[in-house]
C-alpha cells in the first residue's frame, strides 16, 4: 500500500519565473548567434523583440500566479524555450532564403506565438476547472469531426503538397486537424471515462488475455475507420496515425486492459498493410523510407526521397556539435522551416542540440503524464494523459520520419515548426495541462467549512500518494459517477 507522506505544498512559481528568464535568454542568445554568423554583428531589435517575447510569456506567468498558482512550474519555461528556438531557426532560414520582412516567415510566426500564448492565457483564465469540459464530450466530438472534415469541403479545402489537410480563408491557411487534436482528446476522455466499465467487462479469454465482447468493439472500429478515412481522403498519414494511436492509448488507460492494445495494434497493422497494397503514395513513402539512397528512388519525379536524404545530409554534416547557428546550409532541404526543422536544428546545433531539444519534449510529455497520474478525477487523468501522449506521438512521428525510424509523414514539430495552427493548438494544450496540473498539485483544502460531502473523499486524497500503487491504484477511487460531479472550489 502507498505510504502517505505529508508534503509542504510549494507553488513553484518563483522557480518558474527564473526558468522563464533562462528560456528567453536562450532564445535571445541564439538570435545573437545568428546575427553574428550572418551579418557579423548583433541583430538590431534584439532587445525589443526578445523583451516582447519575454513579456508575452510573463503575462501567462502572472495569469498562473493569479488563477492557477499550483500549476506545474516547468511546463511553461520548456514550451517557451522550444518556441523561442523555433523562432530563431525560422528567422535564420528567412535570412538564408533572403526573404524580405514582408515575406518573412519569422514575423508571421511571432504573431502566431502571441496568439498561441494568448490562447493559453484565455484557457487558464476562463477554464476554472478542467472537469467542466467533460460536459461537452459530444459537442467536442462533433466539433472534432467537423474540423477534420473541413479540408474536404470544396472552396475552403486546399490541397498542399498532396495532402488535403488545409483550409484557406483569404490569405490565411489553417490546419484544422491541429485543433481537432484537442477537441477529439476531450471527446475520447469524456467518452471513455463513462464507458470504461462496459469496455473493461470480462469477455472471452484467448491465450491468457481477456478480449472484449464483440458488441463492445464498436468505438474502436469507428476510430479505426475514421483514421483510415483521413488517410484515404486527406492523404495524411501522420494525422491518421496520431488519432488512432491516441485513441488506443486512452482506451488502454481507461480500461486497463492490454487486450485493447493488441486489438488496436492488429487493426493498425491490417490498415497499414491494406493502405500499402492499395495506395501508390503510401508505397512510395515506404520505398523512400527503406531505400532513400537508391538512385532510382532518389531521382524519380514523384514520391522521391530527395527531401529525406537532403535532411539526412544536413544532420550528418552537423555531427556532434553542429555547424553553429547561421553557419550551416539547412536551406538546401525543402521545407526546412516546417516539416524538416528537426534536420535544420540537427545540422546547426548538432547532435548535442538535438538531444537537448528532444529531452525538452520528453520532459514536457512526462510532466504531463505526471499531471495525469497526480490529478484525482478520471476525466482529468485521461485528458492530461491524452494531450501529453498526443504530443509525444507527434514528436515521434515527425522526428522518427526525418531520421528514418518510420516512414516520413507530414506532421509538424510542436512549438518548433513554422505554422500557426500547430502553434496555437499546442499552446492551448499547455494551457490545459497547466490548468489540470494546478488541480493535481493543489494541496488538500483546509478543513472544509462547507458541509462534508462524498467529494471530500476524493479531493482530500493527497496528490503525492502515487508511489507503489498496483494495477488498480488510486484510479479506483474515482468512480464514473463522481467524475461527472463538478467540484466548486472555495
Amino acid at each position: 500500500m502507498a505510504v502517505v507522506t505529508p508534503i509542504t505544498p510549494r507553488t513553484g512559481r518563483n522557480v518558474e519565473a527564473v526558468l522563464i528568464a533562462v528560456a528567453v535568454a536562450l532564445a535571445i542568445g541564439a538570435w545573437a548567434m545568428v546575427g553574428l554568423a550572418v551579418d557579423g554583428r548583433l541583430p538590431a531589435g534584439m532587445v525589443g523583440y526578445g523583451g516582447g517575447f519575454g513579456l508575452l510569456v510573463l503575462c501567462l506567468h502572472l495569469m498562473l500566479r493569479w488563477r492557477a498558482p499550483y500549476a506545474d512550474p516547468t511546463l511553461l519555461p520548456m514550451a517557451t524555450a522550444i518556441n523561442g528556438i523555433g523562432l530563431v531557426v525560422i528567422h535564420r532560414l528567412d535570412r538564408a532564403e533572403e526573404r524580405s520582412f514582408g515575406e518573412s516567415l519569422a514575423s508571421r510566426q511571432i504573431v502566431w506565438t502571441a496568439l498561441g500564448i494568448a490562447a493559453a492565457i484565455v484557457v487558464v483564465l476562463l477554464l476554472r476547472d478542467h472537469r467542466v469540459l467533460s460536459r461537452y464530450t459530444y459537442v467536442a466530438m462533433v466539433a472534432g469531426l467537423l474540423l477534420l472534415l473541413l479540408p474536404l469541403f470544396p472552396i475552403i479545402g486546399k490541397n498542399i503538397n498532396g495532402a488535403r489537410i488545409w483550409i484557406g480563408l483569404g490569405p490565411l491557411s489553417f490546419q484544422p486537424g491541429e485543433i481537432a487534436k484537442i477537441t477529439l482528446t476531450i471527446f475520447f476522455a469524456g467518452y471513455l471515462v463513462t464507458a470504461r466499465d462496459s469496455l473493461s467487462l470480462v469477455g472471452r479469454k484467448i491465450l491468457f488475455i481477456q478480449f472484449p465482447r464483440g458488441r463492445d468493439l464498436g468505438p474502436i472500429l469507428v476510430a479505426w475507420l475514421a483514421s483510415l478515412g483521413v488517410l484515404v481522403f486527406e492523404r495524411d498519414l501522420g494525422t491518421s496515425l496520431l488519432f488512432f494511436g491516441l485513441f488506443v492509448a486512452l482506451l488502454y488507460v481507461a480500461t486497463e486492459r492490454t487486450s485493447w492494445v493488441i486489438l488496436g495494434l492488429g487493426l493498425f497493422s491490417g490498415g497499414a498493410f491494406t493502405a500499402w497494397t492499395l495506395f501508390g503514395h503510401v508505397q512510395a513513402r515506404v520505398d523512400a523510407w527503406l531505400h532513400p539512397l537508391d538512385p532510382v528512388i532518389y531521382n524519380r519525379p514523384f514520391g522521391n526521397s530527395q527531401q529525406l536524404v537532403q535532411g539526412l545530409y544536413g544532420m550528418a554534416s552537423g555531427g556532434l556539435l553542429g555547424t553553429g547557428l547561421g553557419e550551416g546550409r539547412p536551406d538546401i532541404v525543402p521545407y526546412a522551416e516546417s516539416d524538416f526543422i528537426v534536420a535544420s536544428i540537427g545540422e546547426e546545433l548538432g547532435l548535442t542540440g538535438l538531444f537537448a531539444l528532444l529531452l525538452l519534449y520528453g520532459l514536457i510529455v512526462e510532466r504531463g503524464m505526471r499531471t495525469a497520474i497526480g490529478v484525482r478525477d478520471g476525466f482529468g487523468k485521461l485528458l492530461a494523459g491524452g494531450l501529453s501522449f498526443s504530443m509525444a506521438l507527434q514528436c515521434f512521428v515527425v522526428a522518427g520520419g526525418v531520421t528514418r525510424v518510420i516512414p516520413l509523414t507530414g506532421l509538424t514539430m510542436p512549438f518548433l515548426a513554422y505554422g500557426g495552427s500547430s502553434l496555437v493548438s499546442n499552446w492551448m494544450i499547455i494551457g490545459l495541462l497547466l490548468r489540470i496540473s494546478d488541480s493535481a498539485r493543489r494541496p488538500p483544502a483546509e478543513p472544509a467549512p462547507a458541509p462534508p460531502s462524498s467529494d471530500d473523499l476524493t479531493t482530500d486524497m493527497p496528490a503525492a500518494t502515487d508511489d507503489g500503487d498496483g494495477h488498480d491504484g488510486d484510479g479506483d477511487g474515482v468512480s464514473p459517477s463522481e467524475d461527472q460531479t463538478v467540484v466548486v472550489r472555495p
Binding site: S317, M369, A372, G473
Partner: protein, 486 residues
Amino acid sequence: MNGPLRRLAGVVAVLFASLLASTTWVQFVDADSLDEQPTNSRTLYKEFGRERGPLLVGNSTPIAESVPVDDQYKYLRRYPGNQAYSHITGFYSIVFGPTGMERAAGDLLSGTSDQLFYRRIGDLLTGEEPKGASVELTIDPKAQSAAWKALGDRRGAVVALDPRTGAVIAMVSKPAYDPNALASHDRAEVIAARKKLLADPTRPLEDRAIASRLYPPGSVFKLVTAAAALSDGRWNPQSVLPGPAELDLPQTTVTLPNYSGGSCGVGDKVTLTDALRISCNTAFGYLGLQLGPGALAEQAQKFGFGQKLRIPLEATASTFPANANQPSTAQAAIGQYDVRVTPLQVAMVSAGIANGGVVMRPNLVKTVRSGQDLKVIDSPEPERLSEAVSSEVAAQLRSMMLEVVRNGTGTRAQIPGVEVAGKSGTAQQGEAGPPHAWFTAFAPADDPQVAVAAVIEDGGGLGDEASGGRLAAPVVQKVIRAVLDK
C-alpha cells in the same frame, strides 16, 4: 488508471529513446558515409566555405591560394603560378573535385586532416574560424621556371631531385593547362574547359613527369645495365666488351644495330666506360645477354622500378618486362622492348648514383604549417627508398657518366666550372614516330646537389634527327645551372 498511465509514460520514454538512438545514428555513426554520398552537395559547400590553405614554393610564393568571393562557395581557388605549376597544384573544381596536390594534400589544405586534430579542438574552443594548413613545397621556383622555359613549346617533361634528400626541386610537364579555368565557380565554364582539354590530342591534363604515360627510356637505361654489370663482379669500367656494328640476337634472325650504324671501337672491341660514353648498343646488348633478364630486373627494382610512389602525388610505377626471352633481354638492356619509365624514375637512377648508391624517397612536401599561427605541424624527414648499388659501384658509374659529358654523347650538358655527370638516351618508337629524346645528369659530380631527367617527346620537331644528347641535354643543363646558380 495510474498503472496504465505509468506504462504509457514508459512507452513515451521508449519512443524518445528511439529518437535519441536514430539521431545518434544519423549524426554520428552513419555521418561519414552520408558525407561521402555523391548527391551530397554540402560536403562540397563545407569544403569550399572553409578557407583552404595555400600551396607555397620558395620564399612563401603561393602557387595556389584561396581568395574570398561573394558567392555561395565563399572562397575561390586561384593559381598565380598558372600553367608552369599546373601539374603540381592540380585544380580544385566544384564539378570534378580536386586533382594534383589539391587532392594529395587535400586533408591538410582543407584543415580536416587527423594531423590537425588538436588544432581543430583548439579552434572549437576559441571559436576561431577553421582554416586549412599551408603546405610548402620543395620546388625551387628558379629551377621550375628554367625547366619550363627550356622545354619551350615541345612536349615532354623535366624532373629535378635533390639526390641527398629526395626533395623534388622542379617538375614540369608540357603541354600544360590553366588551372584557374577549371577552378571557376561557373559550372558550365568548368565543364567546357575540361571538355576542351580532354579533346586536345596533345593531352595537356596528363602529368608526363610522374604519371599517366610511360616512355621507353632508350639508352638512359644503360645506366641500370651498367650498374648491374659492375655489381655482378665479372666486369669493371675497363672491361673490354664486344662492340660490333650489329649484334646477332640468339633464337632470331634479327640483329641489334648501333645507333650510328658503325662499330664501337677498334676491332669491334670497346671498354665499358667507352661503351657508355658513346652509347654503344651492341656492347650493352651483349651485357644484357650475359646478365640475363633476372639480374636486370633486380637492378631496375633496386632503383625503384615497379614501385608506385606517393610523393604525395601518385607516381606511376616504371616497369621492366617480366619473363623477357633472350633477344628481348638484349633489347631491354638498352632500354627498348617493353621497358617503360617515368622521367621521375630516370631522375631517381641518376640521384641514386649521385648519392653513393642510395636512392632517397622522392618527396614534394617541405613543411606543413597550421593556418592560424603558422607553426610547423609537419616537415617530412628525408627517407631512404633503397640501396641501388654499393658506393664503389656508384663511384665507378659516376666516373663513367662524367666521360659521357666530357667527350661523349652528352657534351651539350657541360657547364663551365661544374663537373656534370650524365647520360643521353634516344628511345626509338619504330613506326609510331620519331624517337623520344632523353637526358639525365647530376652535378656537381663531387658534391651532387641536383639530379635531373628530361624527356622530349617524338623528337621535339626534329624528326629522326633528334637525339637525347642534342635535344634533351641542353634542357638538363639549364635546370642544373638554375639550381647551382651558375
